[in-house]
Symmetry: C3
């Protein structure tokens, strides 16, 4: 499987790392283990002892050092062996990965460490800027290639058919505009004087009609930020009322992905019950509607190359197809650079 390597991927949530935990996760087919170093900073190293290949996550964390549970070799967050009960640590090393905690997210760089530039991390400051009670965070394991999940978000028209009772009903026929290129892309939907999706009924109750604006900003390889706002038809839009949702998709294996999401809102920001009920609705839509569909798609596609199956191209696919082509280009460029 070809993955884009020199890019930041979400590896988890900062809150998953408490002082003692070893967080093991497979990203882009590689097993990594994350933990907090001596000073508390997140660390990520290969979850495989170089001696006999035991996963280090089956060992113990002490004071920022992981000790293998099989023969006692110890490693710090740089991947350096700092304890060898059977000799000198010498030059023993395991691979380490650049990792940054920002906006509550753990970002990992799976490519060339020298190119890891934290300035390239997608800006998710809307998360920190939202009071905790108005933030909804989740992790959804999905048995589908990550690009199918990216397609799903880059083409919101699916909501009209897959989520008609919650999120859909206003995308088909909305005016769309796609811009950007290289490793970023923006798709804007403007649904004017439409029947807003049931999710907006608290803002624009039926039978009132609404002007709805949704935009999705994509950052290679799998990070998307969705902003959405609605107001009664013809009234003035207040961008300060927009809700934001991070959809952050990280490949796990060729046929599975980690789907991290975080949804925030600018109203009722101290109401945890509203948050709980939105979270339940979002996860219900995902678990009962998106996830089965994505996993059925994956089963139909199997190991085949997506393009080799000659997918029918519709106008709604514009952004998703541009993302796929941008990724292909970036991956090809990376392959060339490696040669």
């Amino acid at each position: 499987m070809r993955y884009l390597k020199n890019v930041w991927y979400q590896a988890g949530w900062e809150a998953e790392l408490d002082g003692d935990s070893l967080l093991s996760r497979t990203l882009l087919g590689e097993n990594i283990v994350m933990f907090r170093g001596k000073e508390g900073a997140p660390q990520a190293i290969l979850d495989r002892c170089p001696h006999r290949f035991a996963p280090l996550s089956a060992g113990r964390l002490n004071d920022g050092v992981v000790t293998c549970g099989y023969h006692g070799l110890s490693f710090d967050g740089e991947g350096r062996c700092v304890g060898n009960p059977h000799g000198k640590p010498g030059a023993i090393r395991t691979r380490s990965f650049p990792i940054v905690a920002r906006n509550m997210i753990l970002w990992v760089w799976m490519g060339d460490p020298d190119q890891a530039d934290a300035a390239r991390i997608p800006d998710c400051s809307f998360i920190d800027e939202t009071p905790e009670a108005a933030r909804i965070t989740g992790t959804l394991p999905t048995g589908a290639h990550y690009q199918l999940i990216v397609d799903n978000i880059m083409d919101l028209s699916h909501a009209d058919y897959l989520h008609p009772t919650t999120l859909g009903g206003m995308f088909t026929g909305a005016k769309t505009h796609v811009s950007g290129g290289n490793d970023r892309l923006l798709i804007e939907y403007n649904a004017v004087d439409c029947n807003p999706a049931p999710a907006f009924h608290s803002i624009v109750p039926p039978p009132q009609k609404a002007d709805v604006r949704v935009e999705v900003q994509w950052f290679a390889a799998g990070v998307m930020i969705l902003a959405a706002g609605a107001q009664p038809t013809g009234t003035t839009r207040d961008p300060g009322r927009d809700s934001f949702t991070l959809h952050s998709i990280t490949p796990e294996t060729d046929g599975s992905a980690h789907y991290f999401y975080c949804s925030t809102r600018p109203f009722l920001t101290d109401n945890v019950e509203v948050s709980a009920s939105i979270k339940a609705a979002l996860e219900k839509a995902f678990v009962e509607e998106d996830k089965p569909m994505l996993e059925l798609q994956q089963r139909q596609i199997g190991d085949a190359d997506f393009w080799s199956l000659n997918p029918l191209l519709l106008p709604i696919d514009s952004a998703a197809v541009q993302v796929r082509r941008a990724l292909d280009k970036l991956i090809d460029a990376e392959a060339r650079d490696e040669r």
Copy 2:
């Protein structure tokens, strides 16, 4: 896997299609979805939307039209797109398959549609001609290559060893005769003055001896009709007393098959309790005896070509081997025609 394509396969039972249902099944490695068209006739199309490969069976059926649950494209039973909310249906198509409901059976043609000739459907009129109360129908999913199941029926001597307490005891040593060729074959068993199988004890109670006649007619690729009759030794045979059983085997994947059966009898034809008890006995014999043996065979054979394992040939294999050779020839001929 090489399958015979230009032949009718049983895809299910007509009764499985009510007005609203989408019946999804994998045949010869292809996923198809069956449903009733606007006029009520059965339809079969590829269970895969040409847009993003979602299974159409995860969508909805309305008035003979299937709508994809992912982005709302609609298809009729000819595979034509008859609704596209994102543009014109234009030339959008998915593959359709000839399908015929006859004798309560759904017959599907997986090969070249131009060659689909309903006159070639095996005659199973014994099913309709039997009162409903005297018909027993079932579907048995089996984790074995369909040819192993065909072998099993084309060599009934196995009943003497695998089903000694129900169906066996009289086949080994019976006089057999095999005739036919190309895509049909008949094996006849005549067991003269034998101890009939326990299944015949209601007709010829022990210690009486019986003359038993069983014949199996095979139609390529996997359809077999078994006729059986017994009478006390030396008395006159009345063919009108024969019982008939359809054994219809359709490949699902390389290692699994759909086993459809329908058993009828010419006596006690209004007794549903007798039917229930025969059904229970048949399925018990299959589920506890045939199915495990077939699946163990499959596990031993794995991906190997059957002939490459040099099976020992015995006289009892005559019909089964002729069927395998006939199938090989038909499949080879089909491959030649495609070139």
Copy 3:
């Protein structure tokens, strides 16, 4: 997968074969069935009828003869067909394997039968020589390549990290000596004036220190006999007080193995409760500590060649690496002989 063929492997325990049982097991990727012949001697033949490949173990054993449950062919322990209800047995045969019951163990030879020499069976007479009440026997199915399990026993330092509360604590830093070659190897550990492992506390209670001697004798491909003795520091060693444990590992498939063990002790030899408690402790250590670690290693290694992953070599690996190199040489030599 390359296996050493011309060598004795443990196929089970003699006690597993009572008069009626058909014992089916996969060894080196081949399915064999074991049973007692007419005179009571163990027999081993391929667990696959040459006719239609049904496993013979799904049939019946009568008077030393196995009858296939599918079509009634019968085979004796030499693999000769001794009953064919459909014709003459003639030259029908299935493969048979040399098998010897010795020291309560069933030893099978999977290679060239002409080279099977019972004199090459590893001497496990310590088993018979121990009273039954002081013998502990078990079989542990393990989802790991057999060489990983051999590595585990040939490097006991792992006990200090994986079994700190039972078997470990004294191996790291003990004086070791490795000797032998070809198809045998001995590693000796001498831990002088050490804190003995908790398992020795009944012999040398804390805070007393001990001199502990452990040696492991390896016999190709996967048989190891471990002898262990401890006495208070500076006192005289009595080899008659040593405990012995057989660790006998037989490949099942490329990723799984049969782990047979038998532990004996020279003290409290009539106390079955002590035996039960030692057995519980040993299996707990294996099932909760070794088995997960071995299976995690296997998962990390997958199908890769062990050496291709460049394992870090430490002094503790000396015996395990010599065993791996000896096996590679023996397997290469066998491949040359076959050409």
